[in-house]
Structures are given as C-alpha cells and as structure tokens.
C-alpha cells in the first residue's frame, strides 16, 4: 500500500474511533487519535505477520497493547484488517460485548475472546511484562516471531515498566520492539508536570535499549523504524513515537482534558468527523 493510501486509511481509522467513542459515551480519545498513523502503518504497512482468518496462527507476530486505554484504535485496525466484522465496533463498552472498555484476553473462553487481542490490559505497566515473557518464550523455542509492545508515556510512571526494561536487557531480547507514544499528556495534565520523564531517551538507553526516535505522524518514518527494529536482533529496540494527542481534530489536539473523554457534547462528534474528512488527501 502506498504511503498516501496508508495516510488516508489512518484518517478512516480516526473516523471510526470518533464514531465508536461517541456511541460508547465514554472512553479515551486523544491517544487513540494521536497514534492512528502508527497503528495503520503497523497493520497495513507490511511490517508484521498476521492472519486475520487464523488469529491464533502460531507464527504470528504478537502485538501487545500495554496501554489498554488506547483500545479503540486497536479494535478499529483489527476490524479493518478483517479479524471480526466492523459492525461489532458499535458494541464498544456495551453489555455482552467482546469490545471491552479495556482489552480482555481470555486464554480459555472462545466466547469472550475478541480475535486479534493478545493480552489483557488497562492497569498500566502490565502489558510490557507480558510482552517480555512472550519474547523470552519465543527465544527459548527458537521461533522467529516478534513481539511489538505499545505503551503510553504516562505509563512510564509505573515502576513495573522499568523492571521489565531491566529484564528485557538482561536477556538481550532482540525480538522485542517497544513503542512508546510520547504525546506529553496523561489523564490529569502534562507528563512533565505530573512526573517528569526527560531526559527520556537517555533513560531508555541507560537501561540497555536501542532507541529510535520517530515522528509518529510520518508513516514512512514509522515503517522504516519498524523494519530496522526487525533486523537488529542483538538487543531490544524502543521506538519513541512523537505524536500530537487528538491528532486530526483541532479542538482535541494537545489538550490533556481529551485524554480520557469521548466527543459526547452536541455537535462535537460531527465537527470532529468533518475535520478528519477534510484532511484526507488521496481519495
């Protein structure tokens, strides 16, 4: 798929996210919109292996969403990729739905299981350890599949995250790619006010990770970084994805108050959809 096509697909995903969140009446807008370019590049840019008609295919790459509140974007790309029908997206956060408010993986229940979801997340910091465990298992079994773990920057407040980095470095997990959405906001404000992370890159490097910095809205750059991470197998790679939270919707961009709420006031969703529609280039 051409870069321009991926860009438009990302904006399609943004539209789906707005509709899902407006329909649900609660949920997290900013991160899902801000990372839509990344998620589109990941699933449709040819950088990971998966089979949407065989979600448990043994050799698939494992995409672990550690920051569970980003799930509207995950659900949207999974539906777009054919893991389940798009109509099901309307059930987000509703009773009897497989689209839980935060992703739920059940290794025993076929019924509750949303195809394509690899882990349970929401409480921050947990997914990255799960990803480390998967990468260790793949290494033990000499399997070529890779683990891609997506995290938020506010999530870096959790001590567990840094435990996991020490662990990943100890075992030289070159099959693990950590993607951290550096959008500078978390639930109640700016990340640097609530708990400063900078110098973030230097911290990650000092923990033994190879760091690649990427403009999270440049699909070409994202794809290049993911391809690099795939071939550098000596140690884990961390991609710092610089993004604008709420990207594509002017009244949401860079505003932490949109971290944890959906467009539910009259006119908000319509305005958001019009804006996203106006930035499409290729169609």
């Amino acid at each position: 798929m051409k870069i321009e096509e991926l860009q438009d697909k990302a904006n399609d995903i943004r539209e789906v996210i707005i509709k899902m969140l407006a329909g649900a009446g609660s949920g997290h807008s900013a991160g899902a919109l801000g990372s839509a370019d990344f998620w589109t590049a990941l699933y449709f840019g040819g950088v990971i292996n998966y089979r949407s008609d065989e979600p448990e295919w043994e050799d698939r790459d494992r995409v672990v969403l550690s920051a569970g509140h980003y799930c509207p974007v995950l659900y949207a790309v999974l539906a777009e990729a054919g893991f389940f029908l798009k109509e099901e997206l309307d059930s987000l956060r509703k009773i009897d739905s497989r689209l839980q408010g935060h992703p739920h993986k059940s290794s025993t229940s076929e019924v509750e299981q949303l195809p394509g979801v690899e882990n349970t997340s929401g409480p921050l910091g947990q997914g990255v350890s799960v990803a480390v465990g998967m990468a260790m298992a793949a290494k033990m079994d000499k399997k070529d599949w890779r683990v891609i773990c997506f995290m938020g920057d506010g999530e870096q407040n959790e001590g567990q995250v840094w435990e996991a980095y020490l662990n990943a470095a100890k075992f030289d997990l070159g099959n693990l790619t950590l993607v951290i959405d550096r959008n500078n906001i978390q639930l109640s404000g700016r990340t640097e006010t609530i708990m400063p992370l900078e110098p973030f890159k230097a911290k990650l490097e000092s923990f033994g990770l190879r760091v690649i910095e990427v403009n999270g809205h440049d699909i070409e750059e994202i794809l290049q970084a993911m391809k690099m991470a795939r071939v550098m197998l000596d140690r884990p790679t961390a991609i710092i994805l610089y993004t604008t939270p709420g990207k594509g919707v002017d009244f949401m961009e860079n505003k932490s108050e949109w971290h944890g709420k959906p467009p539910i006031e009259p006119g908000e969703a319509v305005e958001a959809l019009e804006e996203i529609n106006s930035i499409k280039t290729y169609e």
Binding site: H104, S106, S107, N119, G127, S129, A135, Q160, A164
Partner: protein, 304 residues
Amino acid sequence: MKSMRDGFGEGLREAGKRNKNVVVLTADLAESSRANLFAEEFPDRFFDLGIAEQNMMGVAAGMALSGKIPFVCSYAVFSPGRNWEQLRVSVCLTDVNVKIAGAHAGFSANADGATHQALEDMAITRALPNLMVLAPCDYEQTKKVVLASAQINGPVYIRYHKQKLPQVTTADAPFELGKAQVLKEGKDVSVFACGPMVYRSLMVAEKLESKVSVEVVNIHTIKPIDKEVVIRSVKKTGKVVTCEEHQITGGLGSAVAEVLGESCPTPMKRVGVKDVFGESGEYEELVEKYGLGEKDIEEAILKV
C-alpha cells in the same frame, strides 16, 4: 521430619522432567524457595528475574500465553502479596496457565518478623476468580500438589512452609485436587485444618480420644473447597473447629463458614491469628503466642 519446601523443590524438579514446557521464574529467592533444585537440573528453563515481583508475574503470563507452564517462586508475602494486581489482571482475568508458589507461608519466616510472615495470602487469593488455592499439609503432599498443579490448565496458588515438620501423609497416600481428606474419623467434633495445623490437630485428636471423638479433615484445596465432605462431616458431628496458620478472616475458617452458613449452620470456633501482625521469634514460640498451638486447638474443641 521433612520440610514442605523440600517437597516443593523435588516436586518441581519432577514436574520439569515430566513436561518440557514447565519453566521456573524467581525473584532472587531460588534457594530458600527450593526452586534451585529445578535450576540445577534445567538451567535453560530457569530464570532469575531479580527482585521485581510485579514484572515476574507479567512475564509468567506472557510465557503461559506462549505455551509454557511457568511456576513463579518467591515468598508468599511478596508473591502474591506485592504483585496481587498483576496476578489479578495478567494471570487470573486472562485465565492463563501460571502457578504461583508462595514460600514461607504462615509463621515460616519466623525470625524475619511481621514483614515476612504470610498471614493474609489465602484471603487475597481466595477472592480471585479462576484461581485455585492450595495449602498442602506436609512434605509428601507438597510434592503431589506441585505435580498435580502442573497437569491442570489454569492458574493455581500454592502456599507452603519452610520448617521441618512431622509427616502426616505417605508417598503412596492418595491425593486428588479439590478432594478434602478425612484423616481421622470421629463423631463429636469436626476439625478442618490446612498446612502444619493438620498434624497439630491430629495430635490433639489423639490426646482427647477418651473424652471427645474428633474427626480431622485435611482441607488442602482451599478453593474450590470440598463442600460435600465439609457438609457430610458436620452433619455427623454437629460441631466445627477450623485451624489455619493465617488470619482468622478470609482464609480456611471463612471458607468453611461460608459453606456452612448457607447449607448447614453449625456451632463453630476458628483457630487462627486474631487480626494482628506477628513479630520475630522461634517458629514454635510464635505458634504458641499467637494462639495456634495444640492447647489452643484443644480449647476450641472442648468449648465449641
């Protein structure tokens, strides 16, 4: 006299022999948990993840999602104590095949003091859906519990002790997960016990034999509790005493009271730690001081 932890270590090594998917994780406590017996035999399947219990639990979940059968080994106060939420979300909600081994249960970590004594672990694990909770009574039974846990699919918590204690069961004694064991039949009082309280209860039952006929039941599976055996015993005796090296709230006593309160209300006394923290001391001193000794069991039996 043999320790449950030696039974754990030997059981773990045997489980490793029987199934190549068994892996062992520890947080810098290989030797005292006895996970070292596995490590010596299977170094490629043993991982020391440092003093980081939260990460360890998540790593175990990730390995289980990739086909491994991880045993997570630490002290019960730290795991499932410190990493309870990781146990809840990454393991139990995800319903993955992870076994959590809580060493130094009860007053095992005696001289280390209150911080290291696990008196609440059954309460916090019993509340979690999908999780089986086990408290074996001696060396042989701990071995069997480990092997049986490795054979079932799903999360299991095993608490076990450090001290060398008298044997209650033998190597060829039958054992089945979820099935309570009537070790001594009686008709006046039912004593439901777990862990080292089983042998203490048996000693008391023998001592009282001429006065009171005591039935001693080993409840090694705290959850799901064997309702059938509990109710059957109580219908016969009409009186109940529970004994556990744990707080009297949330553990075995509570589990038994829940069953009987709904199905068969019965006069009851609970022997356990009475809503206080422990302190440093010799193991047997602590058992006596905190009301878990043979005289306390005897008193409960006579008063109920």
